[in-house]
């Protein structure tokens, strides 16, 4: 059951208000409709929801003022540009069609003249896109679980952030940002050819250069957050999510519903440009994506008769609760499970600075376990120094090595604790670049590898390699000055030289022995089960 809302109540309410339905409900409705109506209805459906699709594309950012039958763009994961996929639109159209209110019928009727034209255009578009979609599908969007109807081919859309070398996609992104009045951040420097499909930004060119001061389009809390992300002041997936939710709290506090608008719809639309802005500052993490999905769902679920003040308080409480449950309490639960796995005399290896792993180790130390820690670090971030500081401050005895020494030090190690940025649906662990190496070497030495990850970081994406979807950090970070000499200072002038600063990599589940989550200790392959259970809950 969802938070306080029953399934049946929800469907009924949505029917009367024409609000957006969840995937399950839409699937159910769709199946029913398809069974009832066969050929003739299929044509109607197709043309009218083509109209829907066109309308949804156009009305992406505008408020569907007054037309209660038009659902706004759905809470899709941020990576997917969202023209509304056919099935939900199909579900939405029959629903209002069954209602009395005239506005529902009006859009379909007024578009009647242009139907044929649009249909032809749509077919052509879909044909070309279908080809493109079929050719390369490394990262299908988890959203498109809906089975395609016999009429249109499945169009798998690649997220736009992995298509940077495709000028059309870049143009589309630029147009979208222009519409939302957000400046476009330009890529910097030569990109290594294997990764030329990803964005690469320079820290010295912040997005705020192109924004006005004081920022009016974007809420100041969001501008501050974006700056902190791009400068690395808030780094680490938990910290980023908490900071994001905090900024959203401020946005909600300062929000006032414009006249003739509903909070549940308008606030979601207000959040969209902010999310684009944050995405431009630094690509969103999986945890942030899940947090955003949650918030959008909560906002959309606000009943329309709720007064603004009440709604705001409710939302603020939701956010507090989310952070408390998913981050703070989850950390406590994970620490409890992990302490069972830490025995006296252990030598634990950690990599980089994971807030969760640090928390676990500090807790274990407080519970008087005797162990020592080896902190492995890697350039250019050198986050291990911060982890080292926190552990030593507590009194844990630590050793510090760079990743190049990991095979020398592994014979001493009894366990490896790793943090995760996200856990993918096929059991792969996405974490800081270098983690897969540590796991690999540990496997070679038969040292157990334990990954600690909260469930809110579980993501529906599927990845088997670190090339397709990754993040490129500022290449100038790799430049170091030693004894007054900066060898790489003019790296851009050398045409055959490229600097690559990857941020994430994926570790296959064969190298991971156990995943410790707040739900318990599960093997890596059980991640899809958890995801499924989570979805059913919601």
């Amino acid at each position: 059951t969802r938070d306080g809302l029953c399934n049946t109540d929800d469907i009924e309410r949505s029917k009367t208000e024409g609000k957006e339905l969840t995937k399950e409900e839409k699937q159910r409705l769709r199946k029913e409709k398809k069974q009832q109506k066969k050929n003739k209805e299929k044509n109607d459906e197709k043309t009218s929801h083509e109209g829907e699709k066109k309308k949804n594309k156009k009305k992406k950012e505008e408020q569907p003022a007054g037309s209660a039958s038009q659902p706004p763009a759905q809470p899709s994961p941020k990576a997917v540009p969202a023209p509304a996929p056919p099935p939900p639109a199909a579900a939405a159209v029959p629903v209002p069609a069954s209602e009395a209110p005239a506005p529902a019928d009006k859009p379909a009727k007024s578009k009647a003249d242009l139907k044929a034209e649009r249909r032809a255009r749509q077919e052509a578009e879909r044909a070309s896109k279908g080809k493109k979609g079929d050719v390369g599908q490394p990262a299908p969007t988890g959203k498109l679980k809906a089975p395609p109807s016999e009429l249109q081919p499945v169009v798998k859309r690649l997220p736009e952030h992995v298509q940077v070398d495709n000028p059309e996609v870049v143009k589309k992104l630029a147009k979208k940002l222009e519409r939302q009045q957000i400046p476009l951040r330009s890529d910097y420097g030569y990109k290594v050819s294997l990764f030329s499909h990803l964005h690469q930004y320079s820290r010295k060119a912040p997005l705020t250069q192109q924004l006005g001061i004081p920022s009016t389009v974007i809420h100041p809390a969001i501008v501050r957050l974006g700056l902190q992300y791009s400068q690395g002041i808030v780094a680490g997936s938990n910290a980023r999510s908490v900071a994001l939710l905090h900024a959203f709290q401020q946005v909600i506090r300062d929000y006032t519903t414009p006249p003739n608008e509903e909070l549940s719809r308008d606030l979601v639309n207000k959040l969209k440009p902010y999310i684009s802005f944050l995405n431009q500052c630094r690509p969103l993490s999986a945890s942030m994506g899940n947090a955003i999905k949650y918030i959008k769902k909560e906002i959309s679920n606000i009943p329309s008769q709720c007064k603004e003040e009440e709604a705001k308080i409710k939302l603020l409480n939701c956010i507090e609760r989310y952070i408390n449950e998913k981050i703070v309490l989850a950390a406590k639960a994970i620490a409890k499970y992990s302490i069972e796995k830490i025995s006296d005399g252990d030598v634990i290896l950690v990599y980089g600075c994971s807030s969760l792993v640090n928390h676990i180790l500090c807790e274990a130390f407080e519970k008087k376990r005797k162990f020592r820690v080896i902190v492995v670090d890697s350039r250019p971030r050198l986050e291990g120094r911060e982890a080292l500081r926190r552990l030593v401050q507590k009194g844990i005895s630590c050793t510090y090595v760079l990743i190049s020494a990991v095979s020398y030090i592994l014979p001493e190690v009894s366990k490896v604790f790793l943090g995760a940025h996200a856990l993918l649906a096929n059991g792969y662990v996405m974490s800081r670049v270098g983690t897969s190496q540590i796991a690999l070497v540990a496997k070679a030495f038969n040292v157990p590898v334990l990954v600690c990850c909260e469930t809110y970081k579980f993501c529906e994406r599927v990845q088997t390699d670190s090339f397709v979807s990754n993040e490129l950090d500022d290449p100038d970070d790799l430049i170091v000055t030693r004894k007054g000499k900066t060898q790489l200072e003019h790296w851009q002038k050398v045409p055959s030289l490229g600097l690559l600063n990857l941020v994430y990599d994926v570790t296959p589940p064969d190298f991971v022995d156990l995943v410790i989550t707040d739900l318990g200790m599960i093997p890596c392959t059980s991640v899809p089960v958890v995801l499924r259970v989570k979805n059913v809950d919601q």
Binding site: P214, P220, I323, E386
Partner: protein, 463 residues
Amino acid sequence: MELQAVLMAAGGGSRMPDLTYNTPKPMLPVGNKPLMWHPLNLLERVGFEEVIVITTKEVQKMMSTDPKMKDVKMKLDVVCIQEDGDMGTADALRHIQQKIKTDVLVVSCDLITDVALHEVVDLFRAHNATLAMLMSKAHDFTETVPGQKGKKKTGEQRDFVGVDQSGKRLLFMANEADLEDGLSIRKSIMRKHPRMHIKTGLVDAHLYCLKKAVVDFLADNKSISSIRGELLPYLVRKQFSKTTNCPKSKDDADDQTQKTADGSTNSTELLICSRDEPLLQLAQERSCWNDHRGDMSEAYHGGKLRCYVHIMDQGLCYRVNTLAAYIEANRLASKLLEEPAVHPSAVISERCQMGPDSIIGAQCQVADKTSIKRSTIGNSTTVKEKVKVTNSIIMHGVTIEEGCNIHGCVICSNAVIGRGADLKYCLVGNGQQIEAEGEAHSFHTSTFNMLSLFSPPTVTRGT
């Protein structure tokens, strides 16, 4: 709203009395625009829509009539204060405390700069700072200042500014006048920031981003009267004081009133400390970022009050508060302005030689055989034939008769330079008249000197 802009335009210009005798400093023409137009233009370009201008009634009257001020598209909320000069900048901020609803950006009217303002404001935003200010490397003024014989060795007090290794965090600020025996730095600062760079050759641009809590703090502490002189050193010192670093204060507003009963110092400190909310605290804890390395403390050493400075090393940044700065600013004004150097309504004869650095104002009349190089000529000025004007600033309504030779001078509004006068490095005050065939070198005239002009020892008549 993120920031409110406040323009301080009530200053007297006490360091250039000859110029400001008749015209208040904010309205002195620089590049044929009033001085206060320049910071307003900066704010407008960056995207501000409203500015609170604190000024005197006289300036307000002049503002309303000046056509250049009409170009300013922003909404100017003019607050007038008394002209007696007792009100410092901090007093002025206290005066408008009711209008301040959010963080404030204080600019001085005599600032001419092309800084990328987002650099300063980004420091303010990203680090949740209490203060962010702008400073610039000082440039030597190369032009000779009229009225000064020989190079003036400035007895001006230097400012000592201490920054940390990154060059962004402000650790120490003191004026030479306040340091009697020597520069002493507290051990707590050295412990936290073992490497400090102390710079003396910096110009304070008087551009400050202040948190709203600081304005509220000023309202309670009526003893602070100048931002630069008192408030800033106080804030910089407070970064490292013990009370700000151990906030047992997750207080609500009720507790604050209790504290005021105990002692005013307690509440004021609470007001300044940017009370980071618990979520922000959590985010900072979970983040793997630290602003310093080498010791065991967390980011910012747990300090809640942080002051930052952005030091410009390239680009223009001038504070026009001395005659030398005024001349330099006029020289560079043509670079700053986007308008054409010659106003379209000016009538310039064809046989006039005009250098590219010169600015000619509206409705000027420049006759034949004149030569104007590296000069600024104000509105409605008449320049007759065979006049040579170099390196000079001519203000509005001036008449220059034939055959004059003007080099390195500042001639204020409505002056009349008689025929054949030869002026080098002179400052002619408002409405003055220079006799025909007068010759003057390094001379200042103003109303006070008027009598002496007619029978001065240095001015020779004729040949």
